[in-house]
């Protein structure tokens, strides 16, 4: 197996992109990534596209072919990868494995979701198909509902407060204000989160990530080729993926995601680093409680202390472990299939040192953490500056 690097990144604006179609979005992200990598599209050997549900959002399946076609890259092999909201992270992992194995040299790992071509109720219904239809959704569960169940239990077991959860949203909105591609450029307060309309209590509207259109793309290549290019190479130092029960009720613990712990263990081992070595992390904060659980499961603090770590400001830029400098899913937006790739885009910027106002000083090792459903899938990647 050979070392693998990210040599180019591209992302669209995240938000309600009324005037852009699915096709336009993916092409925009792809073209930017190629431009950033300074290579020609003809050099691309294969594509892996993370997408949760074009079938439900735009009534279009077979999108891997559609994208190869509209990118002008047919006949190269193009494959859609699906793992609910973790689809993007899984697409990257497939691309990394294909380059590491020597099968391909230059591979596109992209993610896209066009969510606003359906009404909000249809979008939330589509998202709920990532939960167990027979035994969760039929009982009246929604995604906010299932995360509310975790939040309530976390509050019960560890004394986590609604204020601490609100602080996650406040921080991520602050970070998003510094990210030009983020959906929200508005600051919020703990009070406004607490007073926002109830969705599934204890989660309120501002505890939830929004419905977002967006696409992101990275170019994966052998590290040896990246090192010959005249910019800081970002090496994929570790990759890990794990599965758990699709339904929340079947899990031993309701206050953490075993899939995250396992995927992180794999990635840390492969990268030969530990949580204490991570300088910056993009974690899956689809709901505020999800970030609190993620920073615990990833080992940035002990189980149960995620709320406290947030309250202390340790996850802010300038804190011990800056989390979701991009604004996260909460502030940057959450086009589900694109999220896992968008996280990589942010970490690459952070490691290159070109993240602008939200730059974490001296960041050398970064981590991305992408979750599917309520934790049935988790995928973790660790990146290092390769210079």
């Amino acid at each position: 197996m050979r070392d693998v690097a990210i040599i180019g990144v591209g992302i669209t604006k995240f938000g309600e992109l009324w005037d852009l179609s699915f096709r336009q979005m993916i092409i925009e992200a792809g073209a930017r990534a190629l431009e950033d990598a300074d290579i020609d599209g003809k050099q691309i050997d294969a594509m892996y596209i993370g997408n949760m549900s074009a079938g439900q959002f735009i009534c279009q399946e077979h999108i891997a072919s559609l994208i190869a076609d509209h990118a002008g890259l047919a006949p190269i092999p193009s494959t859609r990868v699906e793992g609910a909201c973790a689809s993007g992270g899984l697409a990257l992992r497939q691309a990394v494995i294909s380059v590491a194995s020597g099968v391909h040299d230059y591979v596109v790992a992209a993610g896209i979701e066009k969510m606003t071509d359906v009404m909000t109720e249809q979008a939330t219904g589509a998202l709920a198909t990532a939960a167990d239809q027979e035994w969760e959704v039929n009982a009246g569960a929604t995604f906010p509902g299932l995360y509310a169940l975790m939040a309530r239990r976390h509050m019960y077991e560890f004394g986590t407060t609604e204020e601490q959860m609100a602080m996650v949203a406040v921080k991520n909105h602050n970070n998003a204000c510094m990210n030009p591609c983020a959906q929200y450029h508005t600051r919020i307060t703990v009070e406004s989160v607490l007073k926002s309309p109830p969705v599934v209590l204890p989660l309120k509207l501002l505890d939830c990530s929004p419905i977002t259109d967006g696409a992101a793309c990275v170019i994966v290549a052998p590290a040896e080729k990246a090192r010959k290019m005249d910019r800081v190479p970002v090496i994929v130092a570790g990759t890990g993926q794990a599965s758990d029960t699709i339904s929340l009720h079947s899990r031993q613990s309701l206050t953490g995601l075993m899939a995250t712990t396992r995927a992180a263990d794999m990635a840390y081992k492969m990268a030969r680093v530990g949580p204490e070595d991570i300088d910056v992390a993009e974690v899956h904060d689809c709901f505020t409680i999800a970030e609190i659980m993620a920073i615990e499961d990833l080992g940035f603090c002990k189980k149960g202390e995620g709320g406290k770590l947030t309250e202390e400001g340790q996850t802010e830029i300038g804190g011990k472990i800056p989390v979701n400098t991009s604004g996260g899913l909460k502030g940057k937006g959450h086009p589900v299939g694109a999220t896992g790739i968008a996280q990589v885009v942010e970490i690459v910027h952070q490691l290159r040192g070109d993240a602008g106002k939200r730059q974490v000083k001296g960041a050398e090792i970064g981590l991305t953490h992408n979750v599917g459903g309520t934790g049935g899938t988790a995928v973790v990647h660790i990146f290092k500056r390769g210079d």
Binding site: E121, T124, G125, W135, A141, G145, L149, R153, P197, P202
Partner: protein, 131 residues
């Protein structure tokens, strides 16, 4: 949804029929068709579960999915049955402000949903607090 998808699970939904592994005796609900521990060595057979349990966690749904709008606000909960397995369910006929983790609940028979106005009506379990 066509009727068979719900119909084939009527025993599970009406009467909490789960499965039990004849090899390790572990009980599953919702039913599993291979024991995750024993896998092919296991032998799963139908198992009727106790209709009582305790609330492990809950949320109060204010924004409901399609078909559940008239129930708002309703309590969504994970209930641990006396036999061990846990399930996701609604807790009905209660004041959401009076629900607590650890509350004892028992199964009731309710309408779960329907295929629009002219389609099949689906029934099954929900839970209510034991008075």
């Amino acid at each position: 949804m066509a009727a068979p998808r719900f119909w084939r699970e009527i025993p599970n939904r009406y009467n909490l029929i789960g499965t039990r592994c004849g090899n390790c005796n572990k009980v599953f609900f919702p039913p599993r068709y291979i024991c995750p521990q024993c896998r092919r060595m296991g032998k799963l057979e139908p198992y009727k579960l106790s209709r009582r349990g305790k609330i492990v966690t809950y949320g109060v749904v204010h924004v409901a999915p399609e078909g559940f709008e008239d129930l708002v606000p309703y309590v969504l909960a994970i209930v641990e049955l006396e036999d061990g397995p846990r399930l996701t369910t609604q807790v009905v006929d209660c004041d959401p402000n009076e629900i607590k983790i650890g509350d004892e609940v028992e199964m009731v028979f309710r309408r779960i949903g329907a295929d629009r106005e002219d389609g099949v009506i689906y029934y099954g379990f929900k839970f209510r607090k034991v008075e």
